[in-house]
Amino acid sequence: MRAGIPRGRFFAMNLARFRDAGIGGIVLGVAIIFWLLNPLFMRPENLFAILLSVGIIVVLAVGQMFVIISRQIDLSIGSTLGVAAMVTAMVGRDFPNVPTIFLVIVAVGVGALLGAFNGFLVVGAKIPAIIATLGTLAIYRGLVFIVSDNIQVNPSEIPTGVTALARVSTVGIPPIVLIGVMVVLAGWYFTRRTMTGLRLYAVGSNPEAAIARGLSPLRFQFWVFVAMGALAGLGGLLYIARFSTVNPADVGAGFELQVISAVVIGGTNIFGGSGSVVGVLMGVFLVGILANGLTVIGVSGFWQSAAYGAIIIIAVVVDTLVRRQMSSGGSKGKGKHNG
């Protein structure tokens, strides 16, 4: 597998791995600071809560990483999650006896459908992804209202099979976390061990060259949006399991910011062509620990948004400076884009 990768890229991959370790160090450092400030942070119940929120965000973040590697972006994921969660919760409410696996299929299917529409807008209608998904962010949010008729689904109406996903199972780990782990492993295997995964990087880092090699960037971009939608749908199911309530006004709102923060912190290049699942996992942990830790040490929730913003900017500044260092160190720099 490595034979086909030129030395410069190989060096860059090693550096990327070093970078992942760096973020891992920051995550540990932040966790230790929170622990020192308030020992309650390390209590099993709290770590459990962090794992649950990380389990949901990571499912979306892996999808967003694929999208960004292919040079696109999906801002509509929060609303996609919202529609999938709402539809699934309503099916669960109206047909309490359907097996849980059927609800999983509904959630993933609805998500994939909305993702395919995004893909169609970007690939078929040639609308730039930022604009297309900014539009569907609002459209899908409206869809949540239309589908639900502005009525929330209450905890008592959610099938117990779904809420069980957020409880400790016989294995000792809640299924949400297991699903997150499975998505991470699958994402890692796909990007590092399959031909299609390598081609995704090829299409993202140099579409012209990829076309010359007989690959179709458009086809990759379409399927990447479908995959993102399906994962957002899965995230919707996990959302129901975790929160037990689906309120049309706020289901999934603001998820895009957490997820894009995590993906960018994880070292995914916003211009496409590079990114690693391990880095993204670290980014998700940083976002999850920060959200939880700030509350635990008694800093008001009002600081959360500012913290995300500051971290996104710091991460991109550091990343850009490191990349520039790398490109001046001999290997070829990436083309700079305007905007």
Binding site: L121, A125, I139, G142, L257, A306, G309, A310, G339
Partner: protein, 341 residues
């Protein structure tokens, strides 16, 4: 003779082309609103209602410049919220409302400048920077105000937006039109605007031609912040209170207005006149929906749908047009083949 006529028609079509989507949306919404309710077509009322969209209008004017450069500023709404928060806090600390407004505009400008410096000096993509500052500035305004609201503004200030200029045009609309004239002059009648367009079209060539594109882009970002500051003053006068969730989600509306006005999202093309027209189109749509008691989220969804259609339809039409041309050419070729045989 015929040829020249066709070419003048074609060039006129090209010049007016960018205005067509906004004009169509405007007319359709006006007709639809008038059919839906007998109370809709009341020009003084519509003008008065337009006041609440002028914050979006001010942001869209500067955003047009930013997008012409090939950049984007997603942080405008958060910038507005933080500028409004400083206005409130400075006023609460005992300053006059005039001084507080000046501070708010200065703060808005500096936040815009921070965006610009990060994009231009550090060389970061504006999409990511302003996505970061979207969260950061909103967060700062939440930290500054918490869940409190600043109220108790002087009576001469609150409701100042209801004043009519010449007994007809509401004050916010007047401010917007003056700003539109100023920024329009800057964009279309000065070297600055020329460099902006060139820069959006081809950054590398512009730099080789010895212009100063960096300064240009920086000014556009700063101006975007200045407009957020002005909009903060306007919204405070209109609502009479300041909360940290002011203008939440305005960035979608602002970008929609700019794109609907015929500005190319990739830069290099765009007019202030188009943005002004598009603002009135969006106002017409929202008012037509509001008079039928359509829920706010659905209104946003309709605006989102219009955004997508205004980009997708021209692409689809030009593609169909291209295909029709191709098939005609093929038919001609087939005819020639037939003759040869």
């Amino acid at each position: 003779m015929v040829d020249s006529k066709v070419s003048t028609l074609a060039s006129a079509g090209k010049a007016l082309g960018p205005f067509v989507p906004a004009l169509v949306v405007f007319l359709v919404a006006m007709v639809w609103g008038t059919l839906a309710s007998p109370f809709f077509f009341d020009i003084p009322i519509l003008l008065l209602h337009s006041g609440r969209y002028m914050e979006i209008g001010l942001l869209a004017l500067a955003m047009t410049l930013v997008i012409i450069h090939g950049d984007i500023d997603l942080s405008v709404a958060s910038n507005l919220a933080f500028s409004a928060a400083t206005l409130g806090l400075v006023y609460e600390s005992g300053a006059s409302i005039g001084a507080a407004s000046v501070v708010a505009i200065a703060v808005g400008t500096s936040l815009g400048l921070v965006n610009g410096l990060l994009v231009i000096v550090v060389g970061l993509p504006s999409l990511v920077v302003t996505l970061g500052t979207l969260a950061l500035y909103r967060g700062l305004s939440q930290i500054a105000l918490g869940d409190q609201a600043v109220t108790g503004y002087p009576e001469t200030f609150v409701g100042a937006d209801q004043n009519l200029v010449f007994g007809l045009i509401p004050l916010p609309l007047t401010i917007f039109l003056i700003m539109a004239a100023l920024i329009g002059f800057l964009a279309h009648r000065t070297t600055f605007g020329f460099v902006s367009l060139m820069l959006g079209k081809n950054q590398v060539a512009t730099m080789f031609s010895g212009m100063q594109p960096k300064m240009n882009r920086l000014i556009a970002f700063a101006l975007s912040g200045t407009m957020a500051g002005f909009a903060a003053v306007l919204i405070t006068a209109r609502l009479g209170s300041t909360r940290s969730n002011l203008a939440l989600g305005f960035e979608l509306l602002v970008v929609t207005v700019v794109v609907l006005g015929g500005t190319d999202i990739f830069g290099g093309k765009g007019t202030i006149a188009g943005t002004v027209l598009a603002l009135f189109a969006v106002i017409a749509v929202r008012e037509a929906l509001a008079i039928q008691n359509v829920n706010g989220q659905i209104q946003d969804a309709v605006i989102g749908l219009i955004l997508l259609l205004t980009i997708a339809i021209p692409v689809a039409v030009s593609r169909l047009w291209g295909r029709a041309k191709l098939s005609r050419r093929k038919a001609l070729l087939g005819l020639e083949k037939g003759i040869k045989q």
